[in-house]
Symmetry: C2
Subunit: 188 residues, 2 copies
């Protein structure tokens, strides 16, 4: 039952458990859907955190169900730990963008190769933006603009992907290749 502050990944699991008991599997799915956009975690990690938090008394494992499903419930200590995590000043974000590294050392690549890479990544970002915008309009039309917090994080995703696409489109032709990607999914 160590008392060092929670890490953000563990804290977010506790956050989801406020809504009721969930299994490791459920937590992975929930996290990917709700915070996967700006916080990644693996299944392995989730099980590890759950085990550790159970040991620390922050969550309590329930009875194994049908498929060996083992639900975890947050405890009073878990709520307290979560609350004190939430009070802390969030740290600065970190972005790790391998494409930008490759680009930064672009001098060391044949130009066509770089352009091809850049093109593929642009397409991937366009697809992600499209996905975000679909869920966004789905929320609006369904009239369920209920959770302003979820909406704010989604808006971040949209804004981010738009900015990235706009950046791609302003890359000098020498880098991104001649008249590639005839467009169709640009910003705004």
């Amino acid at each position: 039952m160590s008392d060092r502050p929670l890490n953000a990944t563990a804290a977010s699991l506790l956050g989801f458990l406020h809504e009721g008991p969930l299994t490791g599997w459920d937590l992975v799915a929930t996290a990917q859907g709700r915070i996967g956009n700006f916080w990644s975690l693996t299944q392995s990690q989730v099980y590890r955190e759950l085990t550790a938090m159970a040991e620390a008394g922050l969550v309590a494992a329930g009875e194994r169900g049908p498929r060996d499903r083992r639900p975890y419930a947050i405890t009073a200590a878990g709520r307290a730990a979560f609350a004190s995590w939430a009070e802390r000043e969030p740290g600065p974000e970190s972005i790790r963008f391998p494409l930008l590294l490759t680009l930064a050392f672009g001098r060391h690549l044949p130009p066509g190769r770089l352009a091809a890479i850049v093109g593929r990544h642009r397409a991937a970002h366009a697809a992600r933006l499209a996905g975000y915008e679909r869920t966004r309009t789905a929320i609006e039309t369904a009239g369920m603009g209920d959770d302003p917090y979820a909406q704010a994080t989604l808006e971040f995703g949209v804004g981010y992907e738009r900015a990235v696409l706009a950046w791609f489109d302003r890359l000098p032709p020498a880098i991104r290749g001649a008249g590639e990607w005839p467009d169709g999914a640009a910003a705004e």
Copy 2:
């Protein structure tokens, strides 16, 4: 002399060493200046990678100089390893944004507290944007728009920070607090 592919951090060190021998200290400073914007590394890590790469024959440690400075030079094997790293498809970027986590669980915080946090982070981003724009105009006015790759990564930083600020400014008042930050450094 393991042959598993380089990790991106090690690869970027090799990238810098193409320009000549550098010490661990120099590499930390160089990396922070040139890729620190989208790739973070710590001093400890740099020394560890250098040691490992020296063992693997990718770099060669030189004589210790004045302050025990020990320059590392890239070897032929190092160049080859770097080249094959550069050929690989860069992985997807990962963003870890603690503020968004806190925001996603905003329901669990007193509103004033959240607004205060948000306000401080907005200010930090405004400051970073200002920094980027200073270096950007410095490059332009100095007439040294030489390295298009460095410029492209800088442009990413500018675009990113502007998008983040615009996002802050579109947050619902309930989240960001009433009429805070009278503004002055908004986008465009």
